[in-house]
């Protein structure tokens, strides 16, 4: 069991936590403003695809990253128009976003590359995979500890740093800025925000756009850092795990990071636990894969206390008579 704490497993944990954490924070902005976002999964997927497709054709990582973010924001705005402007059902709109992303990525991908939905490998200049080895390589000579520190903290992709920096930043925005206070208020009681002379619609759109940007980064992490290229349905339910982490964290940023790290640790440990025996029984792979979900159910059912969602979440704002 100790091997689960090996540097390589912890390294995987950090890398796997990154897309989860970005998506989880995306959900946090959106849901704190009162817009439920089941469509995280779809936005991650379409962003991953856009990053890979543009990366392959243009051969520039930064343009590819921009494309991933813009595409995700566009999808976020579809959700916004449906839920905020037209006061549609947020769950239905989110599900629609997921299907739309899955379908569009496959159709466009096939038309572009004729590879059954996959994209070709990204050229090196279109990847954002590692840190700058040259700058910190001296640490590797400091023995095993230095090597571990180097591998864990100084050899990660840019997304890792962005995601973990986004945690304190999000906390600061939520609790120390005017925008954050209004965002929290609009998720609790939009009528109070409206009567205070602030636009509910404007605030919610801004929240949804924040969610779009973060989902774009999350998707780009998948296709440009963890992999190099797009694979069909490569988000593999991460959007939903992120939502579970969000509830688990009771919509708070630091706790969201903890939850994402926990889920990522389970995911990273999956392969290491396969075929292992505990008390004479072989652990079934399926059990290991199901662990994050079981954990969510068990923890939500009683161990974290009541998870109170933003009160106005899921309800379109209509001025009352």
């Amino acid at each position: 069991m100790l091997e689960l704490l090996q540097v390589s497993n912890l390294d995987s944990t950090i890398r796997l936590a990154t897309p989860l954490l970005l998506a989880c924070l995306a959900g946090l902005y959106s849901e704190r403003s009162g817009v439920f976002d089941i469509g995280l999964e779809g936005k991650i997927l379409i962003a991953a695809f856009a990053g890979a497709a543009v990366g392959v054709t243009m051969g520039n990582a930064w343009i590819a990253l921009g494309a991933a973010i813009l595409t995700s924001v566009a999808f976020a705005l579809i959700h916004g128009v449906a839920c905020i402007t037209f006061r549609g059902n947020q769950i239905v709109s989110g599900v629609a976003i997921n299907f739309l992303a899955l379908g569009l990525a496959a159709v466009i991908g096939n038309a572009m590359f004729q590879m059954g939905g996959r994209s070709p490998q990204l050229p090196n200049e279109a990847r954002l995979q590692g840190g700058d080895r040259a700058l910190f390589s001296w640490m590797e000579d400091l023995g095993p500890v230095g090597e571990a520190v180097h591998n864990l903290f100084f050899d990660q992709s840019i997304f890792v740093y962005l995601a973990f920096a986004a945690v304190p930043f999000t906390w600061w925005v939520l609790f120390r800025t005017r925008f954050g206070m209004r965002l929290r208020a609009v998720g609790e009681n939009p009528a109070a925000v409206d009567t205070a002379g602030i636009s509910v619609t404007g605030l919610r759109y801004r929240a949804v756009i924040c969610a779009g940007i973060l989902c774009g980064l999350s998707g780009a992490t998948l296709s440009m850092a963890l992999n190099s290229g797009y694979i069909n349905n490569m988000s593999a339910g991460r959007g939903f795990i992120a939502l579970a982490a969000l509830i688990f964290a009771k919509w708070r940023p630091v706790q969201a990071m903890m939850a994402c790290l926990l889920f990522a640790f389970l995911e990273a440990s999956e392969s290491r636990l396969q075929g292992k025996e505990v008390l004479g029984f072989e652990i079934p792979v399926q059990l290991v894969q199901a662990l994050p979900y079981i954990l969510v159910v068990v923890l939500l059912a009683g161990f974290i206390g009541q998870a109170r969602a933003p009160k106005a979440g899921g309800v379109p704002y209509v001025k009352e008579r």
């Binding site: 120390r176 208020a185 109070a192 205070a196």
Partner: protein, 504 residues
Amino acid sequence: MSAPAIELKGISKSFGAVHANRDIDLTVEKGTIHGIIGENGAGKSTLMSILYGFYQADKGTIAVDGARVTIKDSDAAISLGIGMVHQHFMLVEPFTVLENVMLGAEGGALLNRGRAEARKELERLEKEYELNVDPDAIVGDLPVGIQQRVEILKALYRGAEILILDEPTGVLTPDEADHLFRILGQLRAQGKTVLLITHKLREIMAITDDVSVMRQGQMVASRHTAETSVEELAELMVGRRVLLRVEKGEANPGKVKLEVSGLNVVDELGVARVKEASLQVRAGEIVGIAGVSGNGQSELLEAIAGIGPITTGSVELFDIAGEPTPWRPRHGLGHVPEDRHKMGLVTKFLAKENAVLGYQREDEFGSGVMMDKGAVLETCKRHMEAFDVRPPDPNLKAANFSGGNQQKIVLAREIENDPDVLIVGQPTRGVDVGAIEAIHRRLIELRDAGKAILLVSVELDEIRALSDRIIVMFAGEIMGEVGPEATEREIGLLMSGVRDGAAA
């Protein structure tokens, strides 16, 4: 003399076919408390919403401090110095008082600096107006009376010179209401103008300088409060003379219809809510249960109605021959719950659907799985006419009726179904004078028709006016029974748990 604080001329507003406001003129002098009184649905709230920029008037002009203005949203109203305390508070419950007050007036993109300034200003306002609010308390934990003061603070913090209060005392205890009036007096003393919307005549007489009366979307009169009387205002509101006392003859009690013996209710926390309650209600009488809210009346009522738990004891109904009948709510037992929103209505359903709710399986509303929509509609129309529900539109959602009219829908449903035993909780809570009169008369008629009625109300006046026998509850116990001739003091002593009061 300075220009009036507010001058409205020819304001009209329609919602579809409904004329909520018709050609309204109103002048409010600076530094006064001006009451706007009218029945539920008379258009008071609409008029104030226009003033606060929530709605735009279809026609008419608004002048503030003598200058003509257009108020296109709440933001514009705030910058003109108009503040509003809504009937349903506009507060963010998990936020602190300070945060609620700051919302929308944060004083910069970062909160820190604004927070310090807001705290200082808040402390000053609190002292000046005796508001007694802790800036760091979480609003959701505060009692409603204090939440309302937070709303007042919000308005003052934004520099309101004109404060509109929409039915402010509906949710308050008498003590809290008195405190509110003291605060309003302070505001007037500081030169602020207060617009008080209410349908309670007592409040108008107690606190206002001037009063304007609205009826069916029109402004029917303006008076100096000192030069008018409760009777005149009531008549102006309703458009005819109102009997403020209920006229009723002697009761002719018959056989026992409802018998409660040794009833105990213990809630999930193990607290005894009702202790050993025993009572009888006979045909042809009204038994009132008096008591300060929260002394077990609600639990007793729910237990009798069959919707609350009974720990020990029994509730029995008797048929015409005096034989115990099987416990069948809806068959001979009508129940008007205390809280119409939680239990009386499905507010998202149409009025006609609500009019038959609970009785939908009766043969008259269809057979088999299909409902007879015509019969449902007819029933609702009949109810609306009998109880003067406004607007009389069976196809309107229940949520879109004013509180008093919602109550009438519930009352009509239970009363018109001709129950043998009727249990009524707070029949006139949030209902206007005209409607109260009609509801009271209907209850007396029902009594005279030989029905047994059990009435729970926190309005002592109502209990005394209607009941033939009054049972007083305190801390879950029945303290005693008095006749309708008992004085307010006698009943008051029982209500506060002093048992010898009745004998004294």
